[in-house]
Symmetry: C2
């Protein structure tokens, strides 16, 4: 069954369109990106967005790191879905990350599908789309690519780097790899290594994609098809893990969808079923299945503890970065115990660290939602860091 709707064939943004649509940085063969796997990407492209104005001494740069299915459109309209930026509550004029004061950069990560080099790109070695020939990338590789972009933009250091989930992993990697370039860091709803349960959920998603006959071993682009159903199932499974049982109970309970009684069939009788199906099938219009494989793999591979021989504190030895670690009470994907593990490591090296566990029933997704306590906490932390950095508060 080939998808007949041309709109459905457009997986995210093809490279050539991306180049036209947004700021992109190109890196030629003279500056290859060396990857943790040992492979090199000879030529890479990084798509990004910026918000606010860079000050004269380039001391007001905030890097926002996006999560698994996020992108660079943190505070501006998404070009495919037409929806507002994914973190407009956090980033914008007068927001905790105030674009009247700060120059905000958000890059699409390596391996992504919104303009940055990823498995949808043409493999220079074959002239065909990479597909599964794209090298497996890591969180450190994502961070390395971001550092390359900053170098090209002439930005030496970051006033702040922040992000949730995979974004938080990038924050931790930034702080560990480039301590001198990070004045303050806000890892939210994240961990220093991906848990067994989280790897398990990712593996289910990957198997769902790979089980779809339209996946064709990753080579679906050249066959003008896409593993839509498999990717939708992957998204549905993942989406449940982003919410808490309480939130699902509160939002949906056992409410029926557009009907008064059970149908005794397999339609979406329950609102939760209808909601999940919608989540799955809208996701595939904006995301590439192979990118999903690569980015979940990068998260699974993330293990900062192992990178420092099991002594996580060594990742932050001598750090001068100011940290604010945030977790949510009902986040069962990255529970508060993971945040405590980060905080303990930072305390062990006498780092400057605040830690806030926010009471919320919204689960992992809380970091993307309207959480006043998170906003006030981060506004306070960022303002205090700005004062220490000598960045006067804008009037």
């Amino acid at each position: 069954m080939t998808d007949q709707n041309p709109a459905h064939r457009a997986a995210a943004i093809p490279a050539e369109e991306a180049v036209k649509l947004q700021p992109v940085a190109q890196f030629g063969n003279h500056t290859p990106l060396r990857l943790d796997s040992g492979a090199e990407l000879a030529s890479i492209r990084i798509a990004y967005q910026t918000y606010g104005t860079l000050n004269d001494d380039k001391s007001n740069v905030v890097l926002v790191c996006h999560a698994l299915t996020g992108d660079q459109f943190v505070a501006s309209r998404h070009p495919i879905t037409g929806k507002p930026g994914w973190w407009e509550t956090m980033v914008g004029p007068g927001r905790p990350v105030d674009t009247n004061r700060f120059y905000v950069i958000c890059t699409n990560i390596i391996g992504g599908c919104m303009g940055t080099t990823g498995p949808m790109d043409t493999n220079p070695a074959t002239g065909k789309p990479y597909g599964l020939k794209f090298p497996v990338i890591t969180v450190a590789d994502m961070v390395r690519a971001q550092a390359k972009l900053l170098d090209q933009l002439g930005i030496e250091d970051l006033f702040c780097v922040l992000g949730g989930s995979l974004g938080g992993m990038q924050v931790l990697r930034w702080a560990a790899s480039y301590p001198e370039r990070v004045f303050s860091a806000i890892p939210i709803a994240t961990a220093t290594r991906h848990s067994s349960q989280n790897i398990a959920f990712h593996e289910v998603g990957r198997q769902a994609i790979m089980a779809d006959r339209d996946w064709h071993g990753g080579d679906y682009q050249s066959r003008a098809t896409r593993p839509r159903k498999g990717l939708a199932v992957a998204r549905m499974a993942a989406h449940i893990t982003y919410l808490s049982g309480q939130a699902l109970h509160r939002k949906f309970g056992r409410n029926l969808q557009d009907r008064d009684a059970l149908t005794f069939g397999f339609e979406a009788d329950f609102q939760i079923e209808s909601y999940l199906r919608h989540q799955g099938f809208t996701f595939v219009d904006r995301f590439d299945a192979n990118s999903y494989l690569y980015i979940t793999r990068a998260m699974d591979y993330f293990d900062l503890d192992a990178d420092y021989d099991g002594i996580i504190a060594n990742a932050f030895k001598g750090t001068k970065t100011r940290f604010c670690v945030v977790s949510f009470t009902s986040d069962w994907l990255f529970p508060t115990s993971e945040a405590r593990h980060i905080v303990q490591a930072l305390n062990a090296v006498a780092a400057n660290v605040s830690f806030v566990e926010i009471e919320s029933d919204k689960g992992h997704d809380a970091f993307l939602l309207d959480e006043p306590e998170m906003f006030s906490t981060l506004a306070g932390f960022i303002n205090s860091a700005a004062v220490h950095r000598g960045l006067a508060k804008a009037e």
Copy 2:
């Protein structure tokens, strides 16, 4: 891709084989099974196993109700997998459900795939396999079929009915529908209604099956194929929910499978991935995909509260049944709050109820595993009930 391995084509046990292999009860057209949906199954077959000896006054009958992917082989070798019975730790000579004292019956539920009438059966109206023409069944339908079997066997009442998960739902339905037939009841790791989160996970599993092109709208039997990959993904997703995060961390952590280093690919680098894949792909050899759809649907539809107009206590009004409600601390599929809801309903009608929350890190699956506190609790409860029933302890 048609499966070339004949062993893989054998989905569970075909009806004609089932009839030869095991005790089955046949019910002809004169006693149709009326279903909650309004449909009737004119002719049904119930496959079951028995253990122990029925006493003279038929007062020592224990009905064990199996869970979603269970079957009647509770305490004897499984004819397909060759593995021991699924609850041999609980049921057998000298076990808490002591087959030296009790006559144990376990039936394959309606909708199942181990000999009892289900979607694999021939639809008498068409002469072809039912597939999705099989009527949607409910937990009450399962219980009604079991009651029919007891009638045929001349068994008026049950000394005890017990089971975990979906088995526990059947226990609750037995106690509500046939209070006079149930002397004691042990609902384990269960709930009076399936939660939104649980419906969500089931829906993911169903969508995974339906996304498999070999599913053919449920009509795969007549095409000599099976939705193996989809069913495996469904099982993998479900399997994660049966375990706790702690148990996964303890058993697997981030350990690598048969390798010393990450491969930077999509093979099962991690033990948890290898384990899950194994769980998925062995499951499809013993289970039918359509049965999986029907049984998950029955669980989703289970809502004893709604059946009694939202006043769950009314389900048990005037009950003389002795209850023992069991939950496990790390079960996040049927958390202790669900058990408390049952207990509160029973207390509201001054029922005889014991409640035990067992400390375990093994998650929902704990009820199937070696949990000494569960065994001693149930042995004590059953023995005490037996004394009240006038069943002398066997010497």
